[in-house]
């Protein structure tokens, strides 16, 4: 089993077996085109800590072969299909996955960015779901507090936005 080396943003080099890290579409892509090499693959927009967590995640799910294949691209009329796929992914989350997401927000957001860059759809679904459930049922101000978002609307802009989205309130 081939070992792949990844170089994170802070210079940390992590080794991982090829079949584990092939759950990442980006890495798959790179490996196909670049082929065998001794040099580590630079991943400069993911920190070492985050990369490590992601490798843990992939290691746990290494025995599921469907994760190593790309998901079929969506056609414009297939939005329902994507919902179904996501819902299925959510229902398949186990205890490991839930524990995995019990981290602080910063790590969570790092994970989102990294999962997006590395193209790991199940992980993206998982973390996205986690964030979404944090957002669920909260009022606007509560959301601002939870996520540390500054209110940079002018009063007119705020009123405009409220009017535009008034239909949601019903």
């Amino acid at each position: 089993m081939r070992l792949v080396m990844l170089e994170a943003a802070d210079g940390a080099v992590l080794c991982v077996e090829q079949d584990i890290i092939e759950q990442s579409g980006t890495i798959r892509n790179i490996l196909t085109d670049v082929g065998a090499t001794d040099k580590p693959i630079p991943v400069p927009n993911v920190s070492g800590h985050t990369l490590g967590r992601i490798i843990e995640y992939c290691r746990h799910h290494r025995s599921d072969p469907s994760r190593r294949r790309p998901r079929a691209p969506l056609q414009p009329d297939e939005t329902n299909a994507s919902e179904a796929v996501t819902r299925q992914a959510i229902s398949q989350m186990d205890d490991f996955d839930h524990d995995f997401c019990r981290v602080d927000q910063g790590t969570l957001f790092d994970l989102i960015l990294a999962a997006n860059y590395l193209d790991i759809p199940p992980l993206l679904d998982l973390v996205g779901y986690t964030v979404a459930s944090k957002m669920k049922g909260k009022s606007i101000q509560e959301l601002r507090d939870t996520f540390g978002v500054k209110n940079d609307f002018t009063p007119e802009e705020e009123q405009q936005a409220l009017n535009d989205n008034a239909w949601c309130e019903k």
Partner: protein, 794 residues
């Protein structure tokens, strides 16, 4: 918006940004350089993942359009340069002079450009994978790879003003034409270019560029080429060569399609060729040589021909019609030999096997004896069967056992057989001959094959009831006179007939077999019981149930028939034997009546002629006559009248018997005067001086071998058959009317014909006559309102 780690206490801290802010244009410039390097085969110089990140960054920073459209522009400019540099010149050459060399040059350069472009696009697609995943889906543009294909199509084929695609098509077509005329071309380049055209989608969205640009022209040129070929070829070649050449052409074209066109084109080419070479000239081809192929049984050529014709319905019909007609012609030829049968039979010698040719012939035709006529009849059956075997063989080896062809052949043979009015009789004669002597030296398989063929011919016969009539008569003679070669063959044939027609048909035939079986048992029991009584006499009796057996009496007048019943055995010894059997039989089966048919029997007697003894095989009548001399004195004489008085044999028949004993080849009795005719006063004596080389001598029996019927006999048979048919038609009409209660005339005729056709084909007149008779007998009546409607009277 910024996001941050949440520290205990809820305070927010900024986090180092990992995706640096960079200038999009600068990023894109790097991408552009990279793409150029890819086309220069310098892919390994760059870092793949760095380029990937550039794409990622551009999309994230909402510059996806810059990336996508920018790449598109790069590709367009690059390809435009390549076309001007490498493609335009060869294209112009082809435009001016489409020689194979120029064509090849254009194809090679296009193919090279294409394969390089494909390789580059694969890499570019992977680099821009993030763009594909995120930007493309949202912007509703084609994925990067597809975009690259469209750019190639637009830059290379459609520019300038579609001229390049015309030149390319010209080059391809030119190569195909060259290959057709025997010049070798590079199939690899063609394959490459066609693959390219197949992969590119046409702008009209109706199919690939290949479909829209090239395929139609390929087919049109093929059609033109073969249309002219067909005309020239037909003039020179016969059917067989033409068919082979056509097949070779089709193989060549489909081979070409497999090598460097598409499978769909291959199928289309095949139907174009079939259309131009075969369908349009079907009747000419057949006229040019079908008859010869059939006569020569050329299965190979016929198979090729059939293979070419079978996909084309109209041509196939023409082929069927041609074969049908030829079989009929051959059948008529065979039937031509039957002409002598209609001429009156001239009498045979008493010996029964001479071919009489003495009698003056009518209309210059040679009149034949019965035996010779039989030979002619048998010849016909054999010839027809042989002809059938030929076509059965062809059906298998050339026509692929096609059901339709089988039907065509069968229909022709049905016509041939039923056109011959005597077919039923001749077939029965043929079977008769085979079972008596024809099967002598044949193996079991050959016998079975022969019987199968006979049954097949029977299936083709329309007048099956006529066949039954003749078959019964012939079978009776075979059984009674012990002439069958093989009982197994007989039984096998009857069971085959049963399969064909149902058991009702074979009921009587089986009855005859059973009677013979029972008689054998009876004889055995009887001789076992009475062996002591009469050691010099060994008698076998065949007891016949009249319903099963046909009329076996020779054609005599009614009063002669009456007299025949009065015949008695003249000596005591014989009389006792007869009576004993009668008593024993009637004791076993009371309520039955036995009527002795002495005219049908035969006997073997051992006669002492001076020092030598001979065994004579004679008829029962002859036995009675000879018995009179057995116990008499050696030189005793008897007049014919006295013989008649003692035996009571009717004069007509007695005359013939005496002639056979005294005037023929073997003179057992001496006759005074030694003339051929017998008059009552002639005297007969035992010829003790008789000698002959063989020990066992057959004195021919009066009932002649089965032969072709004379015209009178035929007329008599027809009368019998007709009477039977009338009865059957009436029965059918009654059956139909009883079920339906009332029916118009035409419908009744149709139904009756339908019901009766397994046995014979009734004419509408026969049905009408039957209806007339039934109305007279008040089974039916005409409806008072509508004279064409009949009503059943209960």
């Amino acid at each position: 918006m910024s996001y941050a780690n949440k520290r205990p206490g809820g305070r927010i801290l900024p986090v180092p940004r990992l995706t640096p802010k960079v200038d999009p244009q600068e990023q894109f410039a790097k991408l552009e350089t990279a793409i150029k390097e890819i086309y220069n085969h310098n892919a390994s110089k760059m870092l793949f993942e760095e380029l990937y990140r550039i794409g990622y960054g551009l999309v994230l920073s909402k510059n996806g359009a810059l990336a996508y459209d920018g790449v598109k522009g790069v590709l367009e400019r690059h390809l435009g340069r390549c076309v001007r540099g490498d493609i335009l010149a060869p294209a112009a050459a082809v435009q001016a002079a489409p020689t194979p060399a120029n064509n090849e040059a254009l194809l090679v350069s296009v193919r090279l450009l294409w394969s390089e472009h494909v390789m580059a696009m694969l890499i570019i697609k992977d680099i821009l994978m993030y763009v594909d995943r995120v930007y493309v889906a949202n912007a509703h543009v084609p994925p990067v790879y597809d975009m690259g294909m469209c750019v190639f199509r637009d830059q290379v084929l459609l520019a300038p003003a579609r001229r390049l695609s015309a030149d390319l098509a010209k080059a391809v077509l030119g190569q195909i034409a060259a290959e057709r005329s025997g010049i070798e071309v590079d199939r690899g380049s063609l394959r490459g270019v066609v693959d390219m055209l197949v992969e590119l989608q046409d702008t009209t969205q109706s199919g690939t560029v290949y479909d829209v640009m090239l395929e139609a022209q390929v087919l049109a040129e093929a059609r033109a080429h073969y249309a002219s070929t067909a005309g020239a070829r037909l003039a020179d070649h016969g059917a067989a060569e033409y068919a082979r050449a056509a097949q070779a052409d089709i193989d060549a074209e489909t081979g070409r399609a497999d090598a460097y066109l598409t499978p769909a084109t291959g199928a289309a080419l095949r139907s174009v060729l079939l259309d131009e070479l075969i369908a349009k000239h079907a009747s000419e081809i057949l006229a040019a040589g079908l008859v010869r192929l059939l006569d020569q049984h050329d299965a190979g050529a016929l198979r090729v021909l059939y293979g070419l014709f079978s996909p084309l319905p109209a041509a196939l019909d023409a082929l069927h019609a041609g074969i049908h007609m030829h079989i009929l012609a051959q059948g008529q030829q065979v039937a031509g030999a039957l002409a002598p049968l209609s001429v009156a039979t001239c009498p045979d010698d008493e010996a029964g096997d001479g071919a009489g040719s003495g009698a003056p012939a009518r209309r210059g035709q040679q009149a034949l004896g019965a035996a010779a006529k039989t030979a002619v009849a048998l010849r016909w059956v054999q010839d027809v069967l042989a002809l059938y075997d030929v076509y059965d063989g062809l059906l298998h080896s050339a026509f692929g056992d096609s059901q339709e062809m089988r039907k065509t052949i069968h229909d022709a043979f049905i016509r041939i057989i039923n056109d011959n009015g005597r077919a039923a009789e001749l077939l029965s004669l043929f079977i008769n001959d085979s079972l008596q002597s024809g099967l002598k030296r044949k193996g079991e398989q050959e016998i079975d094959h022969l019987l199968e063929r006979a049954v097949l011919m029977f299936r083709f016969l329309q007048n099956k009831d006529a066949f039954e009539h003749y078959y019964k008569a012939h079978l009776a003679k075979r059984l009674l006179f012990g002439r069958t070669l093989s009982d197994d063959a007989e039984q096998s044939l009857v069971s085959k007939l049963k399969v064909e027609c149902g058991s009702q048909f074979t009921l009587k035939l089986e009855g005859m077999f059973k009677d013979m079986q029972l008689s054998a048992d009876l004889t055995r029991d009887f001789s076992a019981a009475g062996a002591a009584d009469e050691p010099r006499l060994d008698m076998g009796v065949s007891v016949l149930t009249p319903t099963f057996w046909p009329a076996l009496a020779p054609p005599v007048s009614d009063e002669t028939a009456q007299e025949m019943r009065a015949v008695r055995p003249p000596t005591d010894q014989l009389r006792r034997a007869i009576e004993r059997f009668s008593d024993a039989y009637l004791a076993r089966h009371s309520g039955r009546r036995l009527e002795w048919q002495y005219n049908l029997g035969s006997a073997d007697i051992k006669v002492q002629f001076g020092a030598r003894a001979h065994e004579l095989s004679v008829s029962t009548y002859q036995l009675f006559i000879l018995a009179l001399f057995a116990d008499a004195a050696e030189d005793a004489t008897l007049t014919a009248a006295a013989i008649q008085a003692q035996t009571r044999i009717p004069w007509e028949l007695l005359m013939r018997q005496l002639q056979s004993l005294a005037c023929a080849k073997y003179k057992i009795l001496t006759k005074t005067p030694a003339s051929r005719d017998v008059s009552p006063a002639d005297t007969f004596a035992f010829n003790s001086g008789f000698s002959a080389p063989q020990y066992r001598i057959r004195i021919p029996v009066v009932a002649a071998r089965s032969s072709v019927e004379s015209e009178q006999e035929k007329a008599a048979s027809l009368v019998t058959i007709d009477k039977e048919r009338q009865y059957l038609v009436e029965a059918a009409v009654v059956r139909i009317m009883k079920a339906r209660r009332q029916m118009p005339h035409e419908q009744l005729v149709n139904e009756a014909v339908g019901q009766l056709s397994p046995r014979f084909l009734p004419t509408p007149k026969m049905v009408k006559d039957a209806v007339g008779r039934l109305i007279d007998r008040e089974y039916l009546q005409r409806s008072p309102d509508d004279p064409r409607l009949y009503i059943y009277l209960a």
